[in-house]
């Protein structure tokens, strides 16, 4: 299957998912090609009407040289000389996932599809064709600079060869498609992580034999916020056929009772990521951007903007990272309480076993939680002026930095949930109980990777838990 792009309306999260996860190609529709061509013609007429007017990177030099105007011959020469984007300079130990590179290429086309990139149709087709070729590797580190030229250099260096004309080369590397892609990836995957977390915490509720009253339908009806309502409904779903019997007679610790509130905050963070991802994906962010002709401006106009700085991505990703850290904290507390509750065997040790139980799991939570909290630090605008040598490029975009932390954050959440799930599984095992019917399948999956523990002899818990974390990762990403 191929995703057909006709206008900016086609830049949806669903189409993005098809291109990036399912690996589909992209086709620029005939109508879009015509629109791009018309726009290119009017841009050239606009340029030719006055080649002394300021059009960043076309009638002026770029970056620090923005104040220097160049003559028409120099303008053409500049365009010809930039027909190949130079390779990026960033390097590091880790790389952006391949699906995200596909997202960047897809998002890049939003500037082109209605002609705002002021380029010829061939340029849009060249970019679209990158999805059918070997993909560039984009290092996670060394990508925080003004605009997104640093990461885009890595990606657009792989653009098929071909000559460029005035106005085209800047459109390749300006704008903020990288932030859009990173935010979209977080939005698409965070929903899966939230679903998984809700399920594992529901398992923990049953494992602790906690009362179900803090998740009452009355609270759904009473709440005014849609995210809180949704979190409660999703949690309640797992207890659909559960009995209130066999649970402790008094209230469970705070960490169980505040689950709806904490999950509600995660719901809100995910919803905001989804909303801002949708906005970002379909936005035109070029600098300079070409405003299409109107009756009052028949040639259109090119204007300098700050479109290359996506201000929504880093805060939205940071919020997800913070909430994942909170979920790790709750998972840590649940794991500890499962191993120390009065009504459960100490350390969840099987009385017929060697007596150690799974107390180790509670120790392990500490490190993943700390790491998650470290990854939740804010991605403020960097204080360094970096490339602002001559005063122009004085603020860097922190989106990649936020995403880099997110990759750690989601790993820590998966690990922390693996530890909690294994603890819950052990709690059911040593008390010979079963969870609510809807939770039985996930419990069985957990036990496929980490069987209940009677003796530590012959067990490599690290390997088992790692396998469960990887299963959780796959589960979250496929949701």
């Amino acid at each position: 299957m191929t995703v057909v792009l006709d206008s900016r309306k086609d830049f949806t999260l669903e189409n993005l998912r098809r291109v990036s996860v399912t690996g589909e190609s992209v086709l620029i529709s005939p109508g879009a090609k015509k629109a791009i061509k018309r726009s290119r013609q009017s841009f050239m007429a606009y340029l030719d009407s006055d080649r002394t007017q300021f059009i960043y990177g076309t009638t002026s030099e770029a970056g620090q040289g923005a104040s220097k105007r160049i003559n028409p011959e120099q303008q053409r020469q500049l365009a010809r000389s930039r027909s190949r984007v130079r390779p990026g300079g960033g390097f590091g130990l880790e790389y952006v996932p391949e699906r995200v590179v596909r997202m960047i290429i897809f998002a890049r086309l939003a500037n082109y599809i209605e002609g705002n990139a002021k380029a010829r149709p061939i340029e849009a087709q060249r970019i679209a064709s990158m999805l059918d070729r070997p993909l560039p590797k984009l290092p996670l580190s060394g990508q925080v600079g003004a605009g997104e030229i640093l990461p885009l250099a890595h990606v657009m260096n792989f653009l098929p060869e071909g000559e460029t004309e005035e106005g085209e080369w800047m459109a390749r590397i300006n704008g903020s498609p990288v932030s859009s892609a990173l935010l979209c990836d977080v939005a698409l995957t965070a929903r899966g992580h939230l679903s998984l977390a809700t399920q594992i915490f529901a398992l923990s509720v049953d494992a602790y034999a906690a009362p179900l009253t803090p998740y009452s339908a009355s609270l759904v009806r009473y709440a005014r916020n849609p995210h809180e309502k949704r979190a409660l409904r999703n949690l309640r779903w797992w207890f659909k056929t559960s009995s209130h019997h066999g649970r402790i007679a008094h209230q469970a610790p705070v960490s169980w009772r505040i689950l709806p509130a904490v999950l509600g905050a995660v719901e809100e963070a995910v919803a905001i990521a989804e909303e801002t991802a949708s906005i970002s994906l379909s936005s035109v962010t070029d600098n300079p951007v070409y405003i299409l002709p109107t009756q009052s401006e028949p040639l259109g106009r090119a204007i300098s903007t700050g479109g290359y700085h996506n201000a929504q991505a880093a805060p939205a990703i940071d919020d997800i990272n913070a909430r994942f850290a909170d979920l790790c904290t709750l998972a840590d507390r649940h794991t500890m309480k499962l191993h120390s509750a009065d009504h459960l065997p100490a350390n969840l040790a099987d009385p017929k076993g060697d007596g150690w139980g799974t107390g180790l799991l509670s120790f392990l939570q500490v490190g993943y939680g700390e790491e998650a909290r470290h990854a939740a630090r804010r991605s403020f605008l960097p204080p360094s002026e970096g490339g602002g040598i001559a005063g122009q490029n004085d603020v860097a975009s922190p989106s990649m930095f936020a995403y880099q932390k997110h990759t750690r954050s989601r790993f820590c959440l998966e690990a922390s949930l693996a530890l909690l799930a294994s603890s819950a599984s052990q709690a059911f095992w040593v008390t010979n109980r079963k969870p609510s019917a809807r939770l039985v399948p996930i419990l069985e999956c957990v036990r496929d990777y980490v069987p209940p523990l009677t003796s530590t002899v012959g067990r490599d818990m690290g390997n088992e838990l790692h396998a469960l974390q990887q299963y959780f990762q796959a589960l979250s990403l496929s949701n």
Partner: protein, 489 residues
């Protein structure tokens, strides 16, 4: 006229401000009293019919002793003993009176819908308490599971909350964070209005091309908040298109509408979150009549823990830091002649910076404040530490921490706005340029405290006075500085 509370929709932030900040009185209307009365009666019947059901604090003891069941007689005995703590927290300062009033307002919000099942007498008495002074609550050491530490002070000052013969809850709710965040939501809007005017002034001072805030960008960027920022900046800068830079301004100017847009998004989110929270206060335990919930029941909840408020406040704090970082760049750029194309160091033609008739070197000052802001604006995560010597109370509510940090960050931000406002105003003056018409009154206000530097003086004092006046205008909303920017397109 006192604020009248009848329906949940009366629990608006506007009413919160009237009561908490402006000191107005509050009264329950007939509808509310009927709801409260019905709920109290239904709860008494409920308890009487189910003496063995676990109802936290009614048929059980509190906190670490929650698993200990008590009967009616024991409950009365414990009530006579009273609250065991007179006050545990301490700090060099107390919370402002408005903060305590906002907390009481939030508790009244809980009462209003009947979930706490207090009697009308208790509800009315607490409402009347707002006619007089509030108890002093230390501004530190207030974080615990739920918000019981500040609650102890209210229980001591308002014994009707403790003496209520039978109710589900007399305030075990997120009253502290919801009340404080409500006020913060209002001040955030005003602070952002003021910030947009200051940034518009800076934009004008450096003569940035208006194409950076061109309305044609609104449909391209596709973001409603960035659109508002573009409209607001455009409105402030209305006037003849003269003397703009012939090429693009530095990035810190071009990305202004996008960073402001994100701040507007954060502000709107805090406002919505605070008002929704105020209108749906949940306590532990919570009593639901069939009109309120899905069935008649009393349930233990985590309603004392509001997790969305810290998130919303953190978002606002982050925006203050990012805007402060932009402002710092602007202040530096305005003094850097080769970049700004203004007189270098903002020294008048023919003058020398050593004469002291310039704002030069003031650009160093914000770095200290921004550094503090960054530290205070790290996210308010759930505290990883076990909260206390209780298996029950194992996670702290972190709303107060987020409120306190946001307020500190916001006041530091005002200092940076004062510096940028003073510098931008000075930049216009040294070139004999007028402020745009829509900013004329605003610039006049700035110059009352921070006039253009025409002779050597302690400029830090000017900036401090202006910062204080800005903060005051924001807190009280009674100045031209925070007047709404009109003409939304």
């Amino acid at each position: 006229m006192p604020v009248s509370l009848n329906e949940p929709d009366d629990l608006t932030l506007i009413n919160l401000e009237r009561v908490a900040v402006k000191g107005e009185k509050i009264r329950f209307g007939e509808t509310a009293i009927r709801t409260i009365s019905d709920s109290n009666k239904a709860f008494r019947e409920y308890v009487s019919a189910r003496p063995n059901e676990f109802i936290y604090g009614t048929t059980s003891d509190y906190g670490p002793n929650a698993k200990n069941r008590i009967n009616d007689k024991e409950r009365q005995r414990l009530k006579k003993i009273g609250v065991p703590f007179l006050g545990l927290s301490f700090d060099d300062k107390n919370l402002p009176e408005s903060a305590v009033r906002s907390m009481v307002f939030a508790i009244l919000g809980l009462f209003l819908r009947g979930g706490s099942a207090v009697s009308p007498k208790t509800a009315r008495t607490l409402a009347k308490r707002l006619d007089g002074p509030m108890p002093k609550i230390p501004a530190g050491g207030l974080t615990s599971p739920g918000e019981i530490l500040p609650l102890f002070y209210l229980l001591r000052a308002f014994p009707e909350l403790v003496n209520e013969p039978l109710c589900a809850s007399s305030g075990n709710t997120a009253f502290c964070s919801v009340g404080l965040a409500g006020i913060d939501a209002i001040t955030t809007q005003r602070r952002l209005t003021l910030a947009q005017k200051v940034f518009a002034l800076s934009f004008e001072a450096i003569q940035a091309p208006l194409e950076h805030i061109d309305p044609a960008l609104k449909p391209l960027w596709n973001d409603p908040y960035e659109a508002v920022a573009i409209d607001n900046l455009s409105h402030c800068l209305k006037g003849p298109l003269i003397n703009r830079r012939p090429f693009q301004a530095p990035v810190s100017y071009r990305i202004l509408p996008r960073i402001l847009g994100q701040a507007l998004r954060a502000s709107e989110r805090l406002y919505r979150c605070s008002e929704e929270s105020l209108q749906s206060m949940v306590s532990n335990p919570m009593f639901f009549t069939d009109a309120l919930g899905s069935k008649v029941e009393t349930i233990s909840t985590g309603g004392y823990h509001n997790a969305r408020i810290p998130q919303a406040l953190d978002g606002v704090s982050m925006s203050w830091v990012d805007l402060a970082e932009l402002a710092r760049r602007h202040i530096i750029k305005l003094h850097k002649g080769p970049v700004s194309k203004l007189p270098d160091r903002l020294v008048r033609l023919g003058d020398h910076y050593r004469a002291g008739r310039t704002t030069s070197y003031l650009e160093f000052v914000p770095a200290d404040f921004v550094d503090q802001m960054r530290r205070l604006s790290e996210p308010t995560l759930l505290l990883a530490a076990e909260a206390g010597a209780s298996e029950q109370d194992d996670i702290n509510a972190n709303g107060y921490i987020a409120c306190r940090n946001q307020r500190q960050v916001a006041y530091l931000f005002d200092r940076i706005m004062a510096v940028l406002g003073g510098v931008a105003s000075h930049a216009l003056d040294i070139q004999d340029r007028q402020a745009p018409l829509e900013l004329a009154n605003f610039v006049a206000e700035i110059r009352k405290d921070f006039p253009p530097v025409t002779k050597k003086r302690i400029i830090g004092n000017s900036a401090a006075r202006l910062a204080h006046r800005m903060s005051d205008a924001i807190d009280n909303g009674n100045s031209v500085m925070t007047e709404t920017i009109a003409d939304r397109v």
